[in-house]
């Protein structure tokens, strides 16, 4: 039996010289694949119709901004909600536990599109019936579509992430919390200094995936008249009668976004070494 060394941390392999690193890429079949990909890209750029692009670029930029703001804000707010949702399911009193569990189950068990429409048409119509609300300072916002999109996306993210946080909170080894208590930490400090950071770190690997799922859920808000990236591209297609070019651009943008998110979150994850 070889001795397995569990103590030494795994260090990144030492950097190879440039030639050695390039060698795998220069194998014949890979060269052929690369040539095909380049040819496809060249064909897309030269053979397809991109004349509309400069005209719509500002609108696309604005749509992209809407998508990113919606994503960022709903992830931040959803995550903030997910923490109590997860923690309460592990330690809370029974009624709170049931409430949180019920919320997560209902939201995760129904289509997001349905929730969006229910909240937009339902809540939106409900608000409109009350003169007090129509007269309030909130009304200029509540009569727009984006608050409902934001709310729905937030609740959805909170429910999925809440379930993950429940597992993460429950998975922190009892002994680490016990040590904190044994040194006289008050309960809130145990939570703040040990339980919470440990749970978040345990949840981090799945957080990247959840954020990307959330990114891919954002186009649904186009159905309630929020002009996000997807809505702008749909508009381009209607105006220009082009099908593929706008969609290809849309794919490229979403791919870039999810790629960037993956890299950033992986970097973040690597900054804190895991427990085991």
């Amino acid at each position: 039996m070889p001795d397995i060394d569990i103590v030494t941390p795994i260090h990144p392999a030492p950097a190879l010289p440039l030639r050695a690193r390039l060698a795998p890429l220069l194998m014949p079949h890979r060269l052929v694949m690369a040539a095909l990909a380049l040819a496809a890209l060249a064909a897309i750029v030269t053979q397809m119709n991109w004349s509309w692009l400069p005209v719509y670029l500002p609108k696309i930029g604005h749509g992209l901004l809407v998508t990113l703001v919606l994503l960022g804000s709903s992830v931040a707010a959803g995550f903030a909600l997910a923490l109590p949702l997860g923690a309460v399911q592990v330690t809370g009193p029974a009624p709170l536990r049931w409430l949180a569990n019920g919320f997560c189950t209902v939201i995760r068990g129904t289509p997001l599109l349905l929730q969006l429409w229910l909240i937009y048409y339902g809540l939106g119509a409900l608000f409109a019936q009350y003169p007090e609300i129509r007269a309030s300072w909130l009304w200029p916002y509540l009569r727009q579509a984006w608050p409902y999109g934001f709310l729905t996306l937030t609740l959805s993210f909170a429910a999925y992430q809440g379930e993950i946080m429940r597992g993460a909170f429950a998975g922190v080894p009892r002994g680490e919390l016990e040590a904190a208590r044994a040194f006289g930490m008050p309960r809130l400090m145990v939570f703040r200094r040990v339980w919470f950071p440990r749970a978040v770190h345990r949840a981090l690997p799945t957080l990247a995936g959840e954020i990307i799922l959330q990114l891919k859920a954002t186009p649904l808000v186009a159905t309630i008249t929020v002009t996000d990236l997807y809505a702008v591209i749909t508009r381009v297609r209607q105006d220009t009668f082009l099908t593929y070019e706008p969609l290809l651009l849309l794919i490229a943008i979403y791919l870039c976004l999810s790629g960037t998110l993956t890299i950033v979150l992986r970097w973040l994850e690597g900054r804190v070494p895991s427990g085991h």
């Binding site: 680490e176 006289g184 008050p186 200094r193 440990r198 070494p273 427990g275 085991h276």
Partner: protein, 257 residues
Amino acid sequence: MNDATPAVEIRDLHKRFGRLEVLKGISLTARPGDVVAVIGGSGSGKSTMLRCINMLETPTAGDIAIHGEDYKMRATRDGGLEPADRKQLQRIRAQLGMVFQSFNLWPHRTVLGNVIEVPVQVMGLPRDEAVARARQVLDRVGLAAKEDAYPSQMSGGQQQRCAIARVLAVEPLAMLFDEPTSALDPELVGEVLNVIRDLASEKRTMILVTHEMGFARDVASHVVYLKDGRIEEQGPPEQIFGDPRSPHLQQFIRSIA
């Protein structure tokens, strides 16, 4: 309070888990400077007794006083006790350092981070002062070069020494060791025992639950043999190991040796 005030005093301690009575009336006193070794077979209640001292387990009945101060307790509905004064509990706990069998370091913090955590967060020490003190105690346990390492990057022996440094940094009234070498590979036991031996020779108050009989014999000033939740025999190590009276203890020592 004078020096004669016991650091830890346990009076008629009972602990029941459901229908199982683990501790059946234990009284034990550790005076400042005492090194009390608690030995006994598995299931004899020695860890439970130790964990009652800082209320990680709440006793079913009995009193515990730390440096002359009794824990304020109140009755629970199921006939046990629970700490009645959370502030007092936290204050007393902060004066007791515990070393666990499974180290229980905080893996998201470095060695230094683990050691300064309680001084800074609980005791309110300024950070630079805590760091200076932490470096001192890390040097004592031979981890001066490791302060930036994370627990997962260290061997079990190093982790346990870090856990001991974490306890030393709070300058506790008494140190509680819960089988500190039981989770270690045999070749790593020595380095941890050496650190504890050093501390014992400085007349620090310790209560030590251990399976290392030779070690207990060397460092303890007082040995307590637990059997089925009762103290069956206690005395100085020469007497317990050299001239055990109770047949159970005689058999226990034979089975270990």
